[in-house]
């Protein structure tokens, strides 16, 4: 083993196998161990739509500093077997610098893999495992990868013990024996990384998924009631909250469909309890009518959309950002509302928390656009800063009620926000209505009422000071990358690489998509002559949105494509370099 190796800043490893091969277990254990010794990074998976089994690949990227996107290429691709590899080979880009590790007895290397020009390293995996009782091939794979990463024995043993303790000491011993075989098989290969990090301080680092961070942010924002209907890839948000809410005196109910979940959330919020639901594109489509109700009746509600490929059932297990249009334009009538998007796994916490705060403060609907990539990715991150947003819902004072009996729920105010009476408040009784109404809430078809209520609902959103969180603006220079959502990770890394090459690049990762912030954007773009818009949509939805809502300086171009192939930093770097040459 090499002892003079300098740790690379990034190592990417993919492990693939057919159903039951245990590729995801390898990824999980490898990532957990690496995070424990001090690596940052992400663990993502790709799998087919099978309920159980079916081919799958674990993709682990380890970095010395926090990162939130896949790298351009994988250094190591370990095939437990080759079955159905063509289904996701394109999601695992390899170069001539990559290593392909496979079983010597595993048959021919599929053409799609061989043509990458990567170095092929056959190892006698099945021959070695045959010598062990209850030997699991995937544990041999883990041993090989642990050797390549120089992961210390005690950390790896600890992870395995945690994972298999339930199955008994024998199972743990069997696993460890297979891991040892893997280590021995890889003994002649040079290590690709070292695990020499200062010991992370207890509590300073987290391993968390975007969906978990979303749930956490929602609770931190004050959500205490959730109505749920399962859908991939959003279900984990709901499942996590189902266990967490009772600890805060809140509750979650599973309901019959998405029409029920959005309306139950609206009902809970009408009752004064901050409420939400989480779904994906098909569910959001069903909810749009009722989101309009929340806007018109001014009932705060949050809907998290963990986006997947569309339209229709689309790509349920794979990522895309293509619900942007329905989230921004999908409500019938003129229905001003909020659309926000977290920019990374850890930002799911802040953005969801902020979304609850905004929905509550502005008494309207907020749609949070997460996506499958960050929702289901596990990330090793620094503990996010503890942020509090002070403002909450403006409610009719419980003690005062309304002495003259003339409470007007939809009173016209300068800010557009009017005090909301919560059921149980004496002399606050009113009927919340999706029908157009007078200030007191009585149904009205009068032009003046429609005009003033429309203005009020818009004014709430336009007059509000959104402060610094509308976007992350990083760096200087006359070239800007504008992006949103999980493509921020690749854009951020591309900007860093370009800066290292002497090219100044500004990154604007927008968190507040709707309402648009033209003044803030103009300020962020001062001195910029070229703008590249990066997004994971087939039609360039955000590019068109920007052109419709913003005045952008100089030349503007777009890098966009449909999922599931993640946009990688190298592509953005190349695009910008070609453009400015």
């Amino acid at each position: 083993m090499a002892t003079t190796l300098n740790n690379p800043r990034s190592v990417s490893i993919a492990v693939a196998g057919s159903g039951g091969a245990g590729a995801l277990t390898v990824g999980n254990l490898l990532f957990a161990t690496a995070a424990r010794v001090g690596w940052f990074g992400t663990f993502t998976r790709t799998l087919g739509p099978q309920i159980r089994g079916g081919e799958s690949a674990a993709m682990v990227r380890l970095t010395t500093e926090p990162s939130s996107c896949p790298d351009d290429f994988f250094k190591v691709f370990l095939a437990i077997d080759w079955k159905n590899i063509e289904r996701f080979a394109s999601e695992i880009p390899l170069s001539e610098d990559s290593w392909i590790i496979c079983d010597s007895d595993g048959g021919d290397i599929p053409e799609i893999i061989a043509q990458t020009g990567a170095r092929i390293i056959p190892l006698p995996i099945s021959e070695a495992i045959a010598t062990v009782k209850n030997g699991r091939t995937n544990m041999v794979a883990l041993g090989i990868l642990a050797a390549l990463l120089s992961l210390p024995d005690d950390s790896l043993a600890n992870t395995i013990e945690k994972k298999f303790a339930k199955k008994g000491a024998d199972a743990v011993a069997d696993c460890w024996q297979a891991v040892e075989i893997g280590r021995a098989l890889a003994a002649h290969l040079p290590a690709i990384a070292k695990a020499e990090f200062p010991q992370p301080v207890q509590g300073e680092r987290l391993v968390i998924s975007g969906n978990e961070a979303t749930g956490l942010g929602a609770l931190k924002g004050g959500i205490r009631f959730v109505a749920a209907y399962p859908i991939t890839p959003a279900t984990e948000v709901l499942e996590w909250m189902s266990l967490a809410l009772p600890k805060l005196g809140g509750s979650l109910i599973q309901v019959e469909d998405e029409l029920a979940s959005i309306n139950a959330a609206i009902g809970g919020s009408f009752g004064g309890i901050p409420s939400m639901t989480a779904t994906s594109g098909p569910g959001l489509a069903l909810m749009t009518e009722s989101l309009g109700l929340a806007v018109a009746a001014e009932v705060p509600v949050v809907v998290v959309d963990v986006m997947r490929g569309g339209p229709s059932t689309g790509l349920p297990t794979k990522s895309e950002q293509s619900d942007l249009n329905i989230a921004t334009y999908g409500l019938h009538g003129d229905a001003p509302h909020l659309v926000l998007a977290p920019t990374s796994v850890d930002d799911c916490l802040l953005t969801t928390q902020w979304s609850v705060h905004l929905a509550e403060s502005l008494q309207t609907a907020a749609i949070v656009l997460s996506d499958q990539f960050m929702g289901q990715a596990k990330a090793a991150i620094r503990r996010p800063a503890d942020i509090d947003f002070a403002t909450q819902r403006l409610v009719l004072d419980h003690d005062q009620g309304n002495p003259d009996g003339k409470y007007e729920r939809y009173a016209i105010t300068d800010s557009g926000v009017s005090p909301m009476a919560i059921p149980g408040t004496p002399r606050g009784q009113y009927t919340a209505d999706g029908l157009e109404h007078s200030p007191s809430g009585t149904p009205s078809t009068r032009n003046e009422h429609h005009a003033e209520q429309m203005d009020k609902r818009l004014r709430k959103l336009t007059c509000f000071d959104y402060g610094q969180y509308w976007a992350s603006v990083e760096g200087d220079g006359d070239i800007a990358i504008i992006t949103w959502g999980s493509t921020t990770g690749a854009a951020r890394e591309a900007a860093q690489r370009l800066r290292q090459q002497g090219i100044d690049v500004r990154l604007i990762a927008v968190r507040l998509i709707l309402p648009a912030q033209p003044e803030k954007m103009a300020q962020a773009l001062q001195g910029v002559e070229k703008v590249l818009v990066v997004e994971q949509t087939h039609s360039g939805q955000y590019f068109k949105f920007l052109k419709a809502h913003y005045e952008l300086p100089g030349a503007i171009t777009s890098l966009h494509r449909a999922g599931p192939i993640t946009i990688r930093p190298g592509e953005i770097v190349n695009r910008i370099k070609t453009w400015i040459e």
């Binding site: 509590g203 019959e256 309306n263």
Partner: protein, 279 residues
């Protein structure tokens, strides 16, 4: 089951009515339902601010605004999920859901079945006039298959929906049928429905004078059910399956436990969730 605190000064039915003039046609059965509901609330001495009436869309769904309680007039067909969310989030409120046959059994049919299943402690009052009135006279799920309309000339040819049978099969805990022409009797039944634990469903035959003038005959057809309410599912099923739709009264009182409500409004509790993610 009503858990609200009784109001100090006795209120009368009129105190539960708002000043708003209903959009309903003169002679509409829904006026009587509004009267019956307010009578029931007064009789239960519920404080108006502790009651919420939730509805969807349709003539009868206009009812919440005509009460002096809290009200929610939502989208078409979704009153039950809205009421379910409200009751789950605020178990101490008395939640009543109102609407019509189109809203409840057609566009909202799925929610009806699942609300019965959930057996949450709310009362669902459906003013059944076997027609879509607000859109001016189309067939609803409870309409006779031969009833002629512009949208379904010669009739729908589709067998009607039997709300009480479906409700019983789906798990509702309290079933009754009343006639809007008997506001006093209706008030008594609504009162009992509100007080009874679990999901209470009251089908009120509420004639549409405009699109179903033939329903004037209902006054001669309705009769008090010749038997007392039963708690036996089999008996109730047989009775409802063979019923001609005009037997009124409480028809079933189940013994199912109501959906357990756990929300606690002392919500300021902090909990350290982040440590579970620490490395």
């Amino acid at each position: 089951m009503n858990t609200s605190i009784a109001c100090p000064a006795a209120l009368e039915a009129a105190d539960y009515k708002s000043d708003l003039k209903p959009v309903w046609c003169a002679g509409c059965g829904d006026y009587s339902v509004l009267l019956a509901l307010t009578k029931a609330l007064a009789s239960l001495s519920l404080r108006p601010e502790d009651v919420a009436v939730v509805s969807g869309i349709g003539c009868s769904s206009r009812l919440p605004a005509y009460t002096a309680t809290y009200g929610f007039h939502g989208v078409h067909g979704r009153a039950l999920p809205t009421a379910t969310g409200l009751k789950t989030a605020r178990p101490e409120l008395t939640v009543i859901c109102t609407g019509g046959d189109g809203d409840g059994f057609s566009i909202g049919g799925n929610h009806f079945v699942h609300a019965c299943r959930r057996n949450i402690d709310i009362t669902y009052i459906v003013m059944d006039n076997q027609v879509y009135g607000m859109t001016k006279g189309q067939a609803s799920p409870t309409t006779d298959p031969l009833w002629d309309s512009a949208l379904t000339p010669g009739g729908t040819g589709v067998s009607p929906f039997y709300p009480l049978v479906i409700a019983l099969a789906s798990g509702a805990n309290f079933l009754a049928r009343t006639f809007a022409g008997d506001p006093k009797g209706t008030a008594t039944i609504i009162e009992e429905a509100i007080s009874y634990p679990g999901f209470s469903f009251v089908q009120i035959l509420s004639p549409c004078v405009t699109y179903r003038p033939d329903q004037k005959e209902w006054r001669h057809k309705v009769r008090k059910a010749p038997v007392e309410a039963t708690s036996e599912l089999g008996k109730a099923a047989k009775r409802l399956m063979l019923d001609d739709g005009f037997n009124t009264g409480i028809l079933y009182k189940g013994r199912r436990e109501a959906f357990k409500l756990t929300q606690n409004n002392g919500m300021k509790v902090e909990h350290d969730f982040i440590s579970q993610f620490e490395i």
